[in-house]
Symmetry: C2
Subunit: 294 residues, 2 copies
Amino acid sequence: MIDMHSPEGSALKIACIQMEPHVGDLEGNLATSVRLIETAAQQGARLIVLPELTSSGYVFENREEAVSLAEEIPNGPAVAEWIAVARRLDVHIVAGVAESDGPFLYNTAVLVGPEGFVGKYRKLHLWDIEQMYFTPGNLGVPVFETPYGRIGLIICYDGWFPESYRLCALQGADLVCVPTNWVPMPEQPTGREAMATILTMAAAQTNSIFIACADRVGIERGQEFIGQSVVVGCNGWPIVGPASHVDEAIIYADIDLSEARTKRNLNEFNQLLSDRRDDVYGGLVTIARGRSFF
Amino acid sequence: MIDMHSPEGSALKIACIQMEPHVGDLEGNLATSVRLIETAAQQGARLIVLPELTSSGYVFENREEAVSLAEEIPNGPAVAEWIAVARRLDVHIVAGVAESDGPFLYNTAVLVGPEGFVGKYRKLHLWDIEQMYFTPGNLGVPVFETPYGRIGLIICYDGWFPESYRLCALQGADLVCVPTNWVPMPEQPTGREAMATILTMAAAQTNSIFIACADRVGIERGQEFIGQSVVVGCNGWPIVGPASHVDEAIIYADIDLSEARTKRNLNEFNQLLSDRRDDVYGGLVTIARGRSFF
Protein backbone atom coordinates (compact mmCIF):
# COMPACT_ATOMS: atom_id res chain seq x y z
CA MET A 1 0.00 0.00 0.00
CA ILE A 2 1.29 3.46 -0.95
CA ASP A 3 0.36 6.27 1.40
CA MET A 4 0.39 9.94 0.45
CA HIS A 5 0.60 12.87 2.86
CA SER A 6 -0.10 16.58 2.50
CA PRO A 7 2.04 19.18 4.29
CA GLU A 8 1.76 18.92 8.10
CA GLY A 9 0.67 21.43 10.63
CA SER A 10 -3.04 22.28 10.35
CA ALA A 11 -6.02 21.68 12.55
CA LEU A 12 -7.53 18.44 11.28
CA LYS A 13 -5.95 15.43 9.62
CA ILE A 14 -8.32 13.74 7.18
CA ALA A 15 -7.67 10.28 5.75
CA CYS A 16 -9.31 8.80 2.67
CA ILE A 17 -9.04 5.02 2.60
CA GLN A 18 -8.80 3.61 -0.92
CA MET A 19 -9.48 -0.12 -0.47
CA GLU A 20 -10.84 -3.04 -2.47
CA PRO A 21 -14.07 -4.48 -1.07
CA HIS A 22 -15.13 -7.92 -2.37
CA VAL A 23 -18.82 -8.28 -3.13
CA GLY A 24 -20.55 -10.56 -0.65
CA ASP A 25 -17.73 -10.72 1.89
CA LEU A 26 -19.34 -8.65 4.62
CA GLU A 27 -17.04 -9.88 7.38
CA GLY A 28 -13.85 -9.59 5.35
CA ASN A 29 -14.68 -6.11 4.05
CA LEU A 30 -15.58 -4.89 7.53
CA ALA A 31 -12.35 -6.36 8.99
CA THR A 32 -10.29 -4.69 6.25
CA SER A 33 -12.00 -1.36 6.85
CA VAL A 34 -11.33 -1.57 10.59
CA ARG A 35 -7.67 -2.47 10.07
CA LEU A 36 -7.20 0.52 7.73
CA ILE A 37 -9.13 2.85 10.04
CA GLU A 38 -6.77 1.81 12.85
CA THR A 39 -3.77 2.54 10.63
CA ALA A 40 -5.13 5.97 9.71
CA ALA A 41 -5.91 6.79 13.34
CA GLN A 42 -2.40 5.78 14.35
CA GLN A 43 -1.14 8.30 11.78
CA GLY A 44 -3.20 10.96 13.52
CA ALA A 45 -6.27 11.07 11.29
CA ARG A 46 -9.36 12.31 13.12
CA LEU A 47 -11.80 12.10 10.20
CA ILE A 48 -11.61 8.97 8.07
CA VAL A 49 -13.53 8.48 4.81
CA LEU A 50 -14.21 5.03 3.30
CA PRO A 51 -15.60 4.15 -0.16
CA GLU A 52 -19.18 3.72 -1.31
CA LEU A 53 -20.69 0.34 -0.33
CA THR A 54 -17.59 -0.55 1.69
CA SER A 55 -19.17 -3.46 3.54
CA SER A 56 -21.21 -5.08 0.75
CA GLY A 57 -19.16 -4.56 -2.41
CA TYR A 58 -20.73 -3.04 -5.52
CA VAL A 59 -21.64 -5.39 -8.38
CA PHE A 60 -24.66 -7.37 -7.18
CA GLU A 61 -25.89 -10.27 -9.30
CA ASN A 62 -29.52 -9.54 -8.50
CA ARG A 63 -31.73 -7.79 -6.02
CA GLU A 64 -31.81 -10.83 -3.74
CA GLU A 65 -28.08 -10.63 -3.30
CA ALA A 66 -28.26 -6.87 -2.66
CA VAL A 67 -30.92 -7.44 0.02
CA SER A 68 -28.78 -10.12 1.67
CA LEU A 69 -25.87 -7.65 1.94
CA ALA A 70 -27.89 -4.70 3.26
CA GLU A 71 -28.45 -3.70 6.87
CA GLU A 72 -30.60 -1.41 8.96
CA ILE A 73 -29.02 1.82 10.16
CA PRO A 74 -27.64 2.41 12.76
CA ASN A 75 -28.08 -1.05 14.31
CA GLY A 76 -26.75 -3.24 11.50
CA PRO A 77 -23.39 -4.98 11.92
CA ALA A 78 -21.14 -2.71 9.81
CA VAL A 79 -22.40 0.61 11.15
CA ALA A 80 -22.47 -0.72 14.71
CA GLU A 81 -18.84 -1.81 14.33
CA TRP A 82 -17.78 1.55 12.85
CA ILE A 83 -19.48 3.30 15.77
CA ALA A 84 -17.56 1.07 18.21
CA VAL A 85 -14.29 1.80 16.41
CA ALA A 86 -15.01 5.54 16.31
CA ARG A 87 -15.56 5.47 20.10
CA ARG A 88 -12.46 3.40 20.77
CA LEU A 89 -10.17 5.52 18.56
CA ASP A 90 -11.85 8.90 19.15
CA VAL A 91 -12.34 9.53 15.42
CA HIS A 92 -15.14 10.38 13.01
CA ILE A 93 -15.82 7.93 10.18
CA VAL A 94 -17.72 8.37 6.91
CA ALA A 95 -18.53 5.14 5.07
CA GLY A 96 -20.81 3.73 2.42
CA VAL A 97 -23.22 0.90 3.23
CA ALA A 98 -26.19 -0.82 1.59
CA GLU A 99 -29.15 0.20 3.76
CA SER A 100 -32.37 -1.76 4.15
CA ASP A 101 -35.45 0.05 5.43
CA GLY A 102 -38.49 -2.21 5.26
CA PRO A 103 -38.83 -3.27 1.64
CA PHE A 104 -36.52 -0.52 0.37
CA LEU A 105 -32.79 -0.55 -0.29
CA TYR A 106 -30.73 2.64 -0.33
CA ASN A 107 -27.14 3.36 -1.34
CA THR A 108 -26.26 5.20 1.86
CA ALA A 109 -23.36 7.02 3.50
CA VAL A 110 -23.14 7.29 7.28
CA LEU A 111 -21.25 9.69 9.54
CA VAL A 112 -20.37 8.29 12.96
CA GLY A 113 -18.16 9.64 15.74
CA PRO A 114 -16.99 9.12 19.30
CA GLU A 115 -20.49 9.99 20.53
CA GLY A 116 -22.12 7.45 18.23
CA PHE A 117 -24.28 7.76 15.13
CA VAL A 118 -24.35 11.32 13.70
CA GLY A 119 -26.39 10.98 10.51
CA LYS A 120 -26.82 9.47 7.08
CA TYR A 121 -27.34 10.42 3.44
CA ARG A 122 -29.10 8.33 0.78
CA LYS A 123 -27.68 8.63 -2.76
CA LEU A 124 -29.92 10.84 -4.87
CA HIS A 125 -28.58 9.97 -8.33
CA LEU A 126 -28.31 6.25 -8.99
CA TRP A 127 -25.78 5.05 -11.55
CA ASP A 128 -26.49 2.38 -14.14
CA ILE A 129 -27.76 -0.95 -12.73
CA GLU A 130 -27.96 0.50 -9.21
CA GLN A 131 -31.40 1.48 -10.42
CA MET A 132 -32.31 -2.22 -10.45
CA TYR A 133 -31.72 -2.60 -6.73
CA PHE A 134 -31.81 0.72 -4.94
CA THR A 135 -34.50 3.33 -4.33
CA PRO A 136 -33.38 6.92 -5.09
CA GLY A 137 -32.49 8.91 -1.98
CA ASN A 138 -35.27 10.70 -0.10
CA LEU A 139 -33.38 12.62 2.59
CA GLY A 140 -32.22 15.58 0.51
CA VAL A 141 -28.60 16.58 1.09
CA PRO A 142 -28.16 16.94 4.86
CA VAL A 143 -25.22 18.80 6.42
CA PHE A 144 -24.02 17.78 9.88
CA GLU A 145 -22.32 19.83 12.61
CA THR A 146 -19.12 18.28 13.97
CA PRO A 147 -16.35 19.57 16.27
CA TYR A 148 -14.28 20.29 13.14
CA GLY A 149 -16.87 22.10 11.05
CA ARG A 150 -19.97 21.39 8.98
CA ILE A 151 -19.81 18.23 6.89
CA GLY A 152 -21.98 17.26 3.93
CA LEU A 153 -22.13 13.81 2.33
CA ILE A 154 -22.69 12.86 -1.29
CA ILE A 155 -21.90 9.64 -3.20
CA CYS A 156 -20.16 9.06 -6.57
CA TYR A 157 -22.53 9.97 -9.47
CA ASP A 158 -24.07 12.71 -7.27
CA GLY A 159 -20.88 14.60 -8.12
CA TRP A 160 -22.00 14.86 -11.76
CA PHE A 161 -24.77 17.21 -10.58
CA PRO A 162 -23.44 20.60 -9.46
CA GLU A 163 -26.61 20.99 -7.43
CA SER A 164 -25.42 18.27 -5.01
CA TYR A 165 -22.44 20.31 -3.89
CA ARG A 166 -24.39 23.56 -4.08
CA LEU A 167 -26.98 22.22 -1.66
CA CYS A 168 -24.19 21.34 0.78
CA ALA A 169 -22.53 24.75 0.43
CA LEU A 170 -25.74 26.73 0.82
CA GLN A 171 -26.33 24.93 4.11
CA GLY A 172 -22.91 26.07 5.25
CA ALA A 173 -20.86 22.92 4.62
CA ASP A 174 -17.11 23.45 5.01
CA LEU A 175 -16.27 19.97 3.78
CA VAL A 176 -18.10 17.44 1.62
CA CYS A 177 -17.08 13.80 2.08
CA VAL A 178 -17.61 11.59 -0.97
CA PRO A 179 -17.59 7.82 -0.55
CA THR A 180 -17.40 6.67 -4.15
CA ASN A 181 -17.01 3.73 -6.54
CA TRP A 182 -15.94 5.67 -9.63
CA VAL A 183 -15.93 3.65 -12.84
CA PRO A 184 -14.24 4.63 -16.13
CA MET A 185 -16.37 7.28 -17.88
CA PRO A 186 -17.19 7.10 -21.60
CA GLU A 187 -14.63 8.89 -23.80
CA GLN A 188 -12.11 9.54 -20.98
CA PRO A 189 -8.86 10.27 -22.86
CA THR A 190 -5.78 8.44 -21.69
CA GLY A 191 -3.15 10.61 -20.08
CA ARG A 192 -5.59 13.18 -18.74
CA GLU A 193 -6.92 13.59 -15.23
CA ALA A 194 -10.10 11.63 -14.61
CA MET A 195 -13.33 13.57 -15.22
CA ALA A 196 -14.12 12.73 -11.57
CA THR A 197 -11.09 14.79 -10.54
CA ILE A 198 -12.10 17.67 -12.83
CA LEU A 199 -15.63 17.76 -11.41
CA THR A 200 -14.35 17.62 -7.83
CA MET A 201 -11.98 20.54 -8.44
CA ALA A 202 -14.72 22.57 -10.11
CA ALA A 203 -17.13 21.94 -7.23
CA ALA A 204 -14.54 22.89 -4.60
CA GLN A 205 -13.69 26.11 -6.45
CA THR A 206 -17.23 27.23 -7.25
CA ASN A 207 -18.45 26.54 -3.72
CA SER A 208 -15.29 27.40 -1.72
CA ILE A 209 -15.49 24.05 0.09
CA PHE A 210 -13.08 21.24 0.88
CA ILE A 211 -13.93 17.89 -0.73
CA ALA A 212 -12.58 14.48 0.35
CA CYS A 213 -13.22 11.58 -2.06
CA ALA A 214 -12.49 7.97 -1.04
CA ASP A 215 -12.72 5.63 -4.01
CA ARG A 216 -12.32 1.87 -4.26
CA VAL A 217 -9.96 -0.03 -6.58
CA GLY A 218 -10.02 -3.43 -8.25
CA ILE A 219 -12.15 -5.24 -10.81
CA GLU A 220 -15.36 -6.83 -9.52
CA ARG A 221 -17.37 -9.18 -11.76
CA GLY A 222 -15.84 -7.47 -14.79
CA GLN A 223 -16.45 -3.92 -13.56
CA GLU A 224 -13.30 -1.83 -13.29
CA PHE A 225 -12.93 0.94 -10.71
CA ILE A 226 -10.50 3.82 -11.10
CA GLY A 227 -9.12 4.67 -7.64
CA GLN A 228 -7.60 8.18 -7.72
CA SER A 229 -8.96 9.17 -4.31
CA VAL A 230 -8.32 12.86 -3.73
CA VAL A 231 -8.67 15.65 -1.19
CA VAL A 232 -9.29 19.04 -2.80
CA GLY A 233 -8.86 22.35 -1.01
CA CYS A 234 -11.46 25.11 -0.81
CA ASN A 235 -9.51 26.93 -3.55
CA GLY A 236 -10.27 24.10 -6.00
CA TRP A 237 -6.77 22.58 -6.12
CA PRO A 238 -5.86 19.09 -4.85
CA ILE A 239 -4.12 18.99 -1.47
CA VAL A 240 -3.25 15.30 -1.76
CA GLY A 241 -3.83 12.82 -4.55
CA PRO A 242 -5.19 11.73 -6.90
CA ALA A 243 -3.97 8.38 -5.53
CA SER A 244 -3.11 5.31 -7.61
CA HIS A 245 -5.51 4.01 -10.27
CA VAL A 246 -5.18 0.43 -9.02
CA ASP A 247 -3.51 0.10 -5.60
CA GLU A 248 -4.97 0.28 -2.13
CA ALA A 249 -3.79 3.46 -0.41
CA ILE A 250 -4.49 5.86 2.40
CA ILE A 251 -4.15 9.55 1.57
CA TYR A 252 -3.81 12.12 4.35
CA ALA A 253 -4.52 15.85 4.28
CA ASP A 254 -3.93 18.33 7.11
CA ILE A 255 -6.56 20.99 6.75
CA ASP A 256 -8.29 23.76 8.67
CA LEU A 257 -11.96 23.66 7.75
CA SER A 258 -12.44 27.24 8.91
CA GLU A 259 -10.55 28.29 5.75
CA ALA A 260 -13.70 27.38 3.83
CA ARG A 261 -15.24 30.38 5.58
CA THR A 262 -12.32 32.79 5.92
CA LYS A 263 -10.81 32.38 2.46
CA ARG A 264 -13.96 32.83 0.40
CA ASN A 265 -13.20 36.37 -0.79
CA LEU A 266 -11.63 36.37 -4.24
CA ASN A 267 -10.96 40.11 -4.18
CA GLU A 268 -12.41 43.30 -2.73
CA PHE A 269 -15.72 42.79 -4.52
CA ASN A 270 -16.29 39.07 -5.07
CA GLN A 271 -17.27 36.13 -2.88
CA LEU A 272 -18.54 33.15 -4.83
CA LEU A 273 -21.48 32.15 -2.68
CA SER A 274 -22.80 35.64 -2.06
CA ASP A 275 -22.37 36.56 -5.74
CA ARG A 276 -25.03 34.02 -6.74
CA ARG A 277 -28.04 35.45 -8.59
CA ASP A 278 -30.89 33.61 -6.94
CA ASP A 279 -33.26 36.11 -8.50
CA VAL A 280 -32.34 34.50 -11.83
CA TYR A 281 -31.74 30.88 -10.78
CA GLY A 282 -35.14 30.73 -9.12
CA GLY A 283 -36.31 30.03 -12.63
CA LEU A 284 -34.26 26.82 -12.83
CA VAL A 285 -37.04 24.63 -11.53
CA THR A 286 -39.72 26.43 -13.50
CA ILE A 287 -37.69 26.18 -16.68
CA ALA A 288 -36.99 22.50 -16.12
CA ARG A 289 -40.66 21.73 -15.58
CA GLY A 290 -41.99 24.03 -18.26
CA ARG A 291 -40.02 22.56 -21.18
CA SER A 292 -40.02 19.14 -22.73
CA PHE A 293 -36.37 18.87 -23.77
CA PHE A 294 -35.49 16.34 -21.05
CA MET B 1 -0.34 34.39 -34.75
CA ILE B 2 -0.57 30.66 -34.09
CA ASP B 3 -3.72 28.94 -35.30
CA MET B 4 -4.98 25.59 -34.00
CA HIS B 5 -7.37 23.26 -35.80
CA SER B 6 -9.48 20.33 -34.65
CA PRO B 7 -9.98 17.26 -36.89
CA GLU B 8 -11.91 18.15 -40.05
CA GLY B 9 -15.13 16.80 -41.39
CA SER B 10 -18.12 17.80 -39.27
CA ALA B 11 -21.09 20.01 -39.82
CA LEU B 12 -20.07 23.39 -38.41
CA LYS B 13 -16.70 25.05 -38.16
CA ILE B 14 -16.45 27.32 -35.10
CA ALA B 15 -13.65 29.83 -34.64
CA CYS B 16 -12.66 31.49 -31.38
CA ILE B 17 -10.65 34.64 -31.95
CA GLN B 18 -8.08 35.30 -29.23
CA MET B 19 -7.03 38.93 -29.76
CA GLU B 20 -5.70 41.87 -27.77
CA PRO B 21 -8.07 44.83 -27.60
CA HIS B 22 -6.59 48.13 -26.41
CA VAL B 23 -8.76 50.09 -24.01
CA GLY B 24 -10.16 53.22 -25.61
CA ASP B 25 -9.24 52.37 -29.21
CA LEU B 26 -12.74 51.69 -30.52
CA GLU B 27 -11.80 52.04 -34.17
CA GLY B 28 -8.61 50.02 -33.93
CA ASN B 29 -10.24 47.20 -31.95
CA LEU B 30 -13.14 47.02 -34.34
CA ALA B 31 -10.81 46.97 -37.35
CA THR B 32 -8.73 44.17 -35.78
CA SER B 33 -11.86 42.15 -35.03
CA VAL B 34 -13.09 42.51 -38.62
CA ARG B 35 -9.72 41.51 -40.05
CA LEU B 36 -9.64 38.37 -37.88
CA ILE B 37 -13.29 37.56 -38.64
CA GLU B 38 -12.42 37.72 -42.34
CA THR B 39 -9.47 35.37 -41.78
CA ALA B 40 -11.65 32.91 -39.88
CA ALA B 41 -14.38 33.04 -42.52
CA GLN B 42 -11.79 32.39 -45.24
CA GLN B 43 -10.83 29.27 -43.28
CA GLY B 44 -14.45 28.14 -43.45
CA ALA B 45 -15.68 29.19 -40.01
CA ARG B 46 -19.43 29.84 -39.93
CA LEU B 47 -19.70 30.78 -36.23
CA ILE B 48 -17.03 33.14 -34.91
CA VAL B 49 -16.64 34.04 -31.23
CA LEU B 50 -14.79 37.16 -30.04
CA PRO B 51 -13.71 38.13 -26.50
CA GLU B 52 -15.58 40.04 -23.83
CA LEU B 53 -15.56 43.83 -24.37
CA THR B 54 -13.85 43.42 -27.74
CA SER B 55 -14.55 46.94 -28.96
CA SER B 56 -13.92 48.95 -25.79
CA GLY B 57 -11.12 47.10 -23.98
CA TYR B 58 -11.49 46.12 -20.33
CA VAL B 59 -9.66 48.22 -17.72
CA PHE B 60 -11.53 51.52 -17.56
CA GLU B 61 -10.04 54.36 -15.51
CA ASN B 62 -13.43 55.55 -14.35
CA ARG B 63 -17.10 55.40 -15.18
CA GLU B 64 -16.83 58.37 -17.51
CA GLU B 65 -14.38 56.48 -19.68
CA ALA B 66 -16.61 53.39 -19.65
CA VAL B 67 -19.59 55.50 -20.74
CA SER B 68 -17.55 57.04 -23.56
CA LEU B 69 -16.71 53.56 -24.89
CA ALA B 70 -20.23 52.11 -24.65
CA GLU B 71 -22.85 51.99 -27.37
CA GLU B 72 -26.54 51.28 -27.84
CA ILE B 73 -27.46 47.87 -29.21
CA PRO B 74 -28.02 47.05 -32.05
CA ASN B 75 -27.45 50.47 -33.63
CA GLY B 76 -24.07 51.36 -32.14
CA PRO B 77 -21.00 51.36 -34.36
CA ALA B 78 -19.38 48.05 -33.33
CA VAL B 79 -22.53 45.92 -33.44
CA ALA B 80 -23.69 47.58 -36.67
CA GLU B 81 -20.31 46.78 -38.23
CA TRP B 82 -20.39 43.15 -37.02
CA ILE B 83 -23.90 42.81 -38.50
CA ALA B 84 -22.63 44.16 -41.83
CA VAL B 85 -19.68 41.75 -41.75
CA ALA B 86 -21.93 38.81 -40.83
CA ARG B 87 -24.14 39.63 -43.85
CA ARG B 88 -21.20 40.06 -46.18
CA LEU B 89 -19.45 36.84 -45.12
CA ASP B 90 -22.57 34.76 -44.37
CA VAL B 91 -21.42 33.96 -40.83
CA HIS B 92 -22.72 34.22 -37.27
CA ILE B 93 -20.67 36.31 -34.83
CA VAL B 94 -20.69 36.39 -31.02
CA ALA B 95 -18.87 39.35 -29.47
CA GLY B 96 -18.61 41.31 -26.24
CA VAL B 97 -19.43 45.01 -26.15
CA ALA B 98 -19.99 47.71 -23.53
CA GLU B 99 -23.71 48.50 -23.83
CA SER B 100 -25.35 51.77 -22.86
CA ASP B 101 -29.08 51.82 -22.23
CA GLY B 102 -30.18 55.20 -20.92
CA PRO B 103 -28.15 55.81 -17.76
CA PHE B 104 -27.15 52.15 -17.42
CA LEU B 105 -24.07 50.33 -18.66
CA TYR B 106 -24.04 46.58 -19.20
CA ASN B 107 -21.24 44.13 -19.98
CA THR B 108 -23.03 42.54 -22.93
CA ALA B 109 -22.55 39.79 -25.52
CA VAL B 110 -24.35 39.94 -28.85
CA LEU B 111 -25.19 37.25 -31.39
CA VAL B 112 -25.55 38.50 -34.97
CA GLY B 113 -25.93 36.65 -38.25
CA PRO B 114 -26.53 37.03 -41.97
CA GLU B 115 -30.11 38.07 -41.22
CA GLY B 116 -28.99 40.75 -38.77
CA PHE B 117 -29.23 41.10 -35.01
CA VAL B 118 -30.26 37.86 -33.27
CA GLY B 119 -30.05 38.69 -29.57
CA LYS B 120 -27.98 39.75 -26.59
CA TYR B 121 -27.05 38.69 -23.08
CA ARG B 122 -26.07 40.99 -20.19
CA LYS B 123 -23.44 39.59 -17.80
CA LEU B 124 -25.11 38.44 -14.58
CA HIS B 125 -22.04 38.10 -12.36
CA LEU B 126 -19.75 41.14 -12.41
CA TRP B 127 -16.07 40.65 -11.57
CA ASP B 128 -14.09 42.99 -9.35
CA ILE B 129 -14.15 46.65 -10.40
CA GLU B 130 -16.67 45.96 -13.15
CA GLN B 131 -19.09 46.58 -10.29
CA MET B 132 -18.00 50.22 -10.32
CA TYR B 133 -19.18 50.77 -13.88
CA PHE B 134 -21.69 48.15 -14.95
CA THR B 135 -25.19 47.22 -13.83
CA PRO B 136 -25.70 43.47 -13.23
CA GLY B 137 -27.51 41.73 -16.09
CA ASN B 138 -31.29 41.72 -16.12
CA LEU B 139 -32.13 39.52 -19.12
CA GLY B 140 -31.67 36.12 -17.48
CA VAL B 141 -29.77 33.62 -19.62
CA PRO B 142 -31.44 33.60 -23.04
CA VAL B 143 -30.92 30.79 -25.56
CA PHE B 144 -31.21 31.56 -29.28
CA GLU B 145 -32.26 29.33 -32.19
CA THR B 146 -29.84 29.35 -35.12
CA PRO B 147 -29.54 27.22 -38.27
CA TYR B 148 -26.83 25.21 -36.49
CA GLY B 149 -28.60 24.57 -33.19
CA ARG B 150 -29.51 26.38 -29.98
CA ILE B 151 -26.89 28.79 -28.67
CA GLY B 152 -26.58 30.28 -25.19
CA LEU B 153 -24.28 33.14 -24.19
CA ILE B 154 -22.48 33.75 -20.92
CA ILE B 155 -19.45 35.93 -20.08
CA CYS B 156 -16.27 35.19 -18.09
CA TYR B 157 -17.04 35.10 -14.31
CA ASP B 158 -20.54 33.75 -15.09
CA GLY B 159 -18.68 30.47 -15.66
CA TRP B 160 -17.84 30.28 -11.94
CA PHE B 161 -21.57 29.72 -11.30
CA PRO B 162 -22.74 26.28 -12.47
CA GLU B 163 -26.24 27.71 -12.63
CA SER B 164 -25.25 29.84 -15.66
CA TYR B 165 -24.56 26.80 -17.81
CA ARG B 166 -27.44 24.86 -16.25
CA LEU B 167 -29.89 27.58 -17.29
CA CYS B 168 -28.60 27.34 -20.85
CA ALA B 169 -28.83 23.54 -20.90
CA LEU B 170 -32.31 23.39 -19.42
CA GLN B 171 -33.49 25.65 -22.22
CA GLY B 172 -32.07 23.21 -24.72
CA ALA B 173 -28.77 24.89 -25.57
CA ASP B 174 -26.46 22.71 -27.67
CA LEU B 175 -23.58 25.19 -27.47
CA VAL B 176 -22.69 27.97 -25.06
CA CYS B 177 -20.43 30.73 -26.43
CA VAL B 178 -18.31 32.49 -23.83
CA PRO B 179 -16.72 35.84 -24.71
CA THR B 180 -14.28 36.26 -21.84
CA ASN B 181 -11.46 38.33 -20.35
CA TRP B 182 -10.08 35.72 -17.93
CA VAL B 183 -7.56 37.06 -15.43
CA PRO B 184 -5.19 34.95 -13.29
CA MET B 185 -7.15 33.43 -10.40
CA PRO B 186 -5.87 33.49 -6.81
CA GLU B 187 -3.77 30.42 -5.89
CA GLN B 188 -3.59 29.06 -9.47
CA PRO B 189 -0.63 26.62 -9.32
CA THR B 190 1.94 26.93 -12.07
CA GLY B 191 2.06 23.99 -14.46
CA ARG B 192 -1.61 23.10 -14.10
CA GLU B 193 -4.47 23.83 -16.45
CA ALA B 194 -6.20 27.12 -15.67
CA MET B 195 -9.18 26.88 -13.34
CA ALA B 196 -11.14 28.46 -16.20
CA THR B 197 -10.38 25.37 -18.31
CA ILE B 198 -11.37 23.02 -15.46
CA LEU B 199 -14.69 24.81 -14.96
CA THR B 200 -15.43 24.80 -18.69
CA MET B 201 -14.77 21.06 -18.94
CA ALA B 202 -16.93 20.36 -15.88
CA ALA B 203 -19.81 22.43 -17.29
CA ALA B 204 -19.63 20.72 -20.69
CA GLN B 205 -19.63 17.27 -19.09
CA THR B 206 -22.37 17.86 -16.52
CA ASN B 207 -24.65 19.51 -19.08
CA SER B 208 -23.71 17.52 -22.22
CA ILE B 209 -23.15 20.77 -24.13
CA PHE B 210 -20.44 22.20 -26.36
CA ILE B 211 -18.69 25.30 -24.98
CA ALA B 212 -16.62 27.78 -27.03
CA CYS B 213 -14.55 30.29 -25.03
CA ALA B 214 -12.80 33.22 -26.75
CA ASP B 215 -10.42 34.98 -24.37
CA ARG B 216 -8.24 38.04 -24.85
CA VAL B 217 -4.48 38.28 -24.24
CA GLY B 218 -2.11 41.03 -23.20
CA ILE B 219 -1.58 43.28 -20.20
CA GLU B 220 -3.81 46.35 -19.97
CA ARG B 221 -3.08 49.07 -17.40
CA GLY B 222 -1.31 46.45 -15.27
CA GLN B 223 -4.03 43.81 -15.56
CA GLU B 224 -2.81 40.52 -17.05
CA PHE B 225 -5.12 38.29 -19.10
CA ILE B 226 -4.49 34.57 -19.56
CA GLY B 227 -5.56 33.63 -23.10
CA GLN B 228 -6.06 29.86 -23.32
CA SER B 229 -9.20 30.09 -25.47
CA VAL B 230 -10.73 26.64 -25.79
CA VAL B 231 -13.56 24.72 -27.45
CA VAL B 232 -14.82 21.83 -25.31
CA GLY B 233 -16.94 18.97 -26.62
CA CYS B 234 -20.25 17.84 -25.17
CA ASN B 235 -18.36 14.98 -23.49
CA GLY B 236 -16.39 17.45 -21.39
CA TRP B 237 -13.03 17.13 -23.18
CA PRO B 238 -11.32 19.91 -25.19
CA ILE B 239 -11.65 19.61 -28.97
CA VAL B 240 -9.13 22.37 -29.64
CA GLY B 241 -7.04 24.45 -27.26
CA PRO B 242 -6.35 25.72 -24.73
CA ALA B 243 -4.53 28.25 -26.95
CA SER B 244 -1.45 30.26 -25.96
CA HIS B 245 -1.30 32.18 -22.68
CA VAL B 246 0.03 35.29 -24.40
CA ASP B 247 -0.24 35.25 -28.20
CA GLU B 248 -3.09 36.24 -30.47
CA ALA B 249 -4.56 33.14 -32.12
CA ILE B 250 -7.59 31.75 -33.88
CA ILE B 251 -8.69 28.26 -32.85
CA TYR B 252 -10.99 26.23 -35.07
CA ALA B 253 -13.25 23.30 -34.18
CA ASP B 254 -15.36 21.24 -36.57
CA ILE B 255 -18.37 20.10 -34.63
CA ASP B 256 -21.88 18.75 -35.07
CA LEU B 257 -24.10 20.45 -32.52
CA SER B 258 -26.69 17.71 -32.80
CA GLU B 259 -24.27 15.50 -30.85
CA ALA B 260 -25.22 17.51 -27.78
CA ARG B 261 -28.63 15.87 -28.14
CA THR B 262 -27.79 12.43 -29.54
CA LYS B 263 -24.80 11.61 -27.34
CA ARG B 264 -26.31 12.43 -23.96
CA ASN B 265 -26.87 8.85 -22.84
CA LEU B 266 -24.02 7.65 -20.61
CA ASN B 267 -25.34 4.08 -20.50
CA GLU B 268 -28.63 2.19 -20.64
CA PHE B 269 -29.93 3.95 -17.54
CA ASN B 270 -28.33 7.39 -17.29
CA GLN B 271 -28.73 10.70 -19.10
CA LEU B 272 -27.31 13.64 -17.21
CA LEU B 273 -30.05 16.18 -17.75
CA SER B 274 -32.97 13.85 -17.17
CA ASP B 275 -31.30 12.35 -14.08
CA ARG B 276 -31.57 15.69 -12.27
CA ARG B 277 -33.56 15.62 -9.02
CA ASP B 278 -35.59 18.78 -9.30
CA ASP B 279 -37.76 17.52 -6.47
CA VAL B 280 -34.70 18.06 -4.26
CA TYR B 281 -33.06 21.06 -5.94
CA GLY B 282 -36.26 23.03 -5.74
CA GLY B 283 -35.10 23.76 -2.24
CA LEU B 284 -31.99 25.56 -3.47
CA VAL B 285 -33.59 28.97 -3.49
CA THR B 286 -35.46 28.38 -0.26
CA ILE B 287 -32.31 27.20 1.46
CA ALA B 288 -30.32 30.14 0.17
CA ARG B 289 -32.90 32.63 1.41
CA GLY B 290 -33.68 30.87 4.68
CA ARG B 291 -30.12 30.82 6.02
CA SER B 292 -27.75 33.59 6.91
CA PHE B 293 -24.46 31.97 5.98
CA PHE B 294 -23.98 34.11 2.85
